[in-house]
């Protein structure tokens, strides 16, 4: 039996525009998402900002009622059996919010242990274990307002695991965390499945998904466009090659011209300090380097390299965004 099951989930938000003449507008954030997560699996939901990842996760953790479709967690319906679902899940989101800053980490953890009805003696033991797990032992009596982003994020994870839930939802848990802190967090997340937990992770960091996930789904504009193992998703672009061109001050018109070069499948731009690195995908065996450099005539060009496609290239091909 699937631990988490989403069937044709849809969610529409109603918003309004105008001041004097107010007009309601329906925005379809999630348009029929379906997937299943097996026991002990780490499932990734990948997508750009605004793709519907957080809306999907909020429906699964009972904070939002779906407009249509259904979902269950451990067999409990997320609308009808919300309290049963809440007892069995942990929820961790990224960012600075979600903590009582004027109080210590210990105060925060004790309070949430009460909210999850963890018996006092067990709560004491769990808090000690979790502080060790997330590397905050010895700092637990300090006020959270003095914590770094990474420390807050680790505290979030400890909070989400207080009641030892079998299912954990992680919504972009490493966002804004420095590389070393993010690596430590990823190690902690990997440890969750070793402890037998089922995990749903949303992220838009491809290397993170590649590193952690057993299976993943790519969501864009509220719909799942691909689902499978990281290797299976990479295979989508295995017949392609990627040319990386480092440029300085390339303009949008030139990038658009590159997109229209015959044989170019997609062009994405990655900002790296002063440089813009263009990732140009084309069918394997096509030699386009000289043609592309010709289009870039007049633009300052640095390093040029040809490489094998990665999961990120598969993602770019799937979501069709230029980033």
């Amino acid at each position: 039996m699937a631990v988490v099951e989403a069937k044709d989930l849809k969610r529409t938000y109603r918003t309004s525009t105008g001041i004097l003449r107010r007009r309601s507008v329906d925005v379809e954030a999630v348009r029929g998402v379906s997937f299943e997560i097996g026991e002990g699996e780490l499932f990734g939901l990948l997508g750009p900002n605004g793709a519907g990842k957080t809306t999907t996760i909020k429906m699964l953790i009972t904070l939002l009622i779906p407009t249509a479709g259904s979902a269950t967690v451990l067999g409990y319906d997320v609308v009808k059996d919300a309290r049963e679902v809440r007892r069995r899940i942990g929820y961790v989101f990224g960012g600075d919010k979600g903590l009582y800053e004027r109080l210590s980490a210990l105060d925060n953890l004790r309070y949430f242990a009460e909210l999850y009805a963890v018996p006092p003696a067990e709560a004491k033991r769990r808090i000690e274990e979790l502080l060790d797990l997330v590397g905050l032992a010895g700092r637990e009596k300090e006020k959270v307002e003095g914590y770094s982003r990474g420390m807050r994020q680790r505290l979030h994870i400890a909070r989400g695991l207080l009641h030892d839930p079998p299912v954990v939802f992680l919504d972009e848990p490493t966002i804004g965390v420095d590389p070393v802190g993010a690596r430590e967090l990823r190690a902690t997340i990997a440890g969750l499945t070793h402890a037998g937990k089922t995990v749903l992770l949303t992220t838009h960091y491809m290397f993170e998904a590649d590193d952690l996930c057993d299976r993943m789904a790519v969501i864009t504009r509220g719909e799942i466009v691909a689902e499978g193992t990281p290797a299976a998703l990479k295979a989508i672009v295995s017949d392609r090659t990627v040319i990386e061109i480092e440029t300085f001050g390339v303009d949008e018109i030139t990038v658009e011209a590159l997109r229209h070069v015959s044989g170019v499948a997609s062009v994405s731009i990655e900002e790296r300090d002063q440089a813009q690195v263009l990732h140009v995908q084309s069918p394997a065996g096509t030699e386009l380097t000289q043609t592309l450099l010709g289009v870039l005539d007049g633009t300052r060009v640095g390093r040029v390299a040809v490489r094998e496609p990665t999961l990120e290239d598969a993602y770019v091909a799937l979501v069709g965004v230029d980033q």
Partner: protein, 256 residues
Amino acid sequence: MTANARLLLMGWKFHFKMLARSSFNGWLGVIYPLFFATVAFFMFRAGSKDSLLYASLGASVMGVWSATSTSAGAALQRERWHGTLELLVAAPAPFSLVLLPVTLAMATVGLYSMAATLLWGRVLFGIDLHIDHWLLFCLSVPATVIAIGMFGFLLAVAFVRYRTAWALGNLLEYPVWLICGFLVPLSFFPAWVRPISWVLAPTWGMQAIRESATGGTPVPDLLVCLGLGLLYTAIGVLVVDWFLRAARARAALSLT
């Protein structure tokens, strides 16, 4: 202790600790009672010693009311800003047991305001606190504080659903000072105001406190005050799940 009682107690301790840690609240805690005591003194200095005590007690309950009515909305607004409201809703604990300690903690801060107002009145203006029935006075004060906290709970429940309900709390602050008889007797107001006063627990709490101070019979007032407080709580508990469901359907929980 049952799990629910423990949750109420721990929640109250947690939120009281948080409120006590705010230096801004600390300054307000000094300035507001001073203001209330001054208002009471200047309004009644031309009257008798008894009228000064009447005003001083009224001014002290103003602090409890203000701390709860305006803060209940502010507290929920803070939970929204800090992103903790969603976490509280996502927890399996009954939401009313999560919310009630928040407003009770605020009313407790108001209790400090009450004591400080009486103290300022004594120190600055020489208003004697003469209490005839100390035992009943000591029962009336916490009963009033708890009933006001329960009214704050009802406001907070509305705020879960309606983001702008904090304005209702602010709107109620000054009218309640008047129509609950904190500063002037209810007999000064037109007859149509009185039914409104009667459904507000602070009216009865105020009367119980004054009756116990002046040697009257505070018990009936005390019972009505507590009864109304329980009624507010019952209404809040009944509607909170309905409001929460509406907030989840309208995606209003994460809005600030």
